[in-house]
Amino acid sequence: MTDTRQLAYIAAQAADARVNVELETEGMTLNIGPQHPATHGTLRIIVRLDGERVVAAEPVMGYMHRGYEKLAEVRTYPQVTTLVNRIDWLGSFANEVPFILAAERLMEVEAPPRARWIRTALFELSRIANVVLFLGDMGVQLGAVTPVFFAFRDREFVLNQIEAVTGGRFHPNFDRIGGLKDDLPKGWIEETRSVLGRIRTFCDEMEDLVAGNEIFEARTRNIGVIPADVGLAYGLSGANIRASGVDWDLRRDGDMGLAHGELDWKVWTHPDGDSFARYWVRLQEVREACTIVEQCLDGLPSGPVMAKVPRIIKVPAGEAYVETENPLGVMGYYIVSKGDLVPYRVKIRSASFNNVSITPWLLEGVYVPDVISILASLYFILGDIDR
């Protein structure tokens, strides 16, 4: 290397160092995602840092936007369930239910009791399949790899039960306007009972392994605290808002048209509003979902699973909004019908979109490692944000 080139190299290094000094004082921009392992899906977050502290955080979305609201305007009502299956793909059946209920309200059709009870059982099984993964995944986000293997192992049994009824592990497409596509297969009820036992054991394991872990508590207690009024103003729902002490669950308080009102179960809340509370509430909700499914299996009424509906579904003109308490929070569909084969407009209100919209407010002032813990505890599915 000649002297001149060596000098230029040294000068460049000095310039780099100067830039670094400037960055330390002026803050640094860190890009998390869109394909960062901690983001489950393609959520990208741009954070401005001052040292280890987050000054501002701006989520960037749209990497998975599929335009379901536009597509729904050219699809017949039965075809729309295929689309909405793919919104929250971990609890797919639960996505279909509010859409079908909204269409049923417009058509003034009511599903027979047996269909409502089976819907309730599948709805809660979707919740178990969805939230069980969260209970394990939250450990991975904080550096504990074991819980997620337990979660994948036990979720498989739940998916098997969903598959046995619907034929689909992830996208059941089983709910129909006026009832269900089919009845339960033989022996399903007994198998499901044993699966619920496994899930209960899993919950106990998670309570010991994760929630009772000192490191986990240190990383989540008093981290990402959401006061109830702020959470409500941002439209947080589901376990996220119940972990802030708001005792509101559409399964109990709303008009969901499922069998929840006839069953004996409990809504769990937690006063703290931090990441730990969100984990804890979800853990209790899985147990509660097991109770609900069990009661559905015990009290399953007999009869048909399909009401009398025309072969070609034409929904009378009108507007209806139905929302349900889905695994991720409140999910609703606002359907505008003009009496056609296709909806005129479908507004999809998905839970994760609102749940994540609080992040710019919530991440301000936290430390970088807590960003991961907070995002994990808010628990979103990208398909549920981008739709």
Binding site: Y234, Y321, G332, Y334, K347, N354, S357, D386
Partner: protein, 233 residues
Amino acid sequence: MDTVDNADETDVEAPAVDSGRDALVATLAATLGDGFVAGEVDPGVDVCVRVTADSWLAAGIALRDHCGMSYFGFLSAIDWLPSPYGRDMDAQVDGPEASDPEPMEWGTTGGETRFQLLARVHDPMSGLGITVKADVPGDRPEVDSWIPAYAGADWHEREAWEMFGISFRGHPNQVHLYLPGAFEGNPLRKDYPLLARRIKPWPGIVDVELMPGSDDEAGDDEAPEESEAGADA
């Protein structure tokens, strides 16, 4: 059998008067004065009100402060101009270009203009929810931002802005949310064509046709009254 069951249950579930929702409409009408246009209560089911665009923000604040609606559901819009491309059910590859749109027809609580804002808020204590609408003209769609009333309106307004082209006065960061920054057009407007249908015929159309062997001559416009459940039984 089914019809008898259904009739019984609907009779029980539909009270003629819904005092909670009626009171809600009365409170809003009193607070907003001339800003209140129409209210429609479906007893025991739902309630929808329409306000003027000028009192849009006032309606949000009134709902939050006077009606206990602390929970923000969503904010979006409806484009009432019927699509000039028809239902887009058929392949448009060789089809006709845009035709003159049909006259507009509005839904619940009526309407006057092409766009209608649509928002939903809730009271977690009473469990009541309310849909709020406001007419926005098609030539200059502009309205006050709801962020002072509900912080969560931020992203919903960015989405409504890019999808419908409705701008929100006072929004601190009105930029694209889902679409790339250089995207042109407002995809959820009815006159924005669904480009996929213009490239490739839509195979799903087959589902709308009658099953083979069905004796009904009816095409798309007639819904035969026979049912799958009836056929099975």
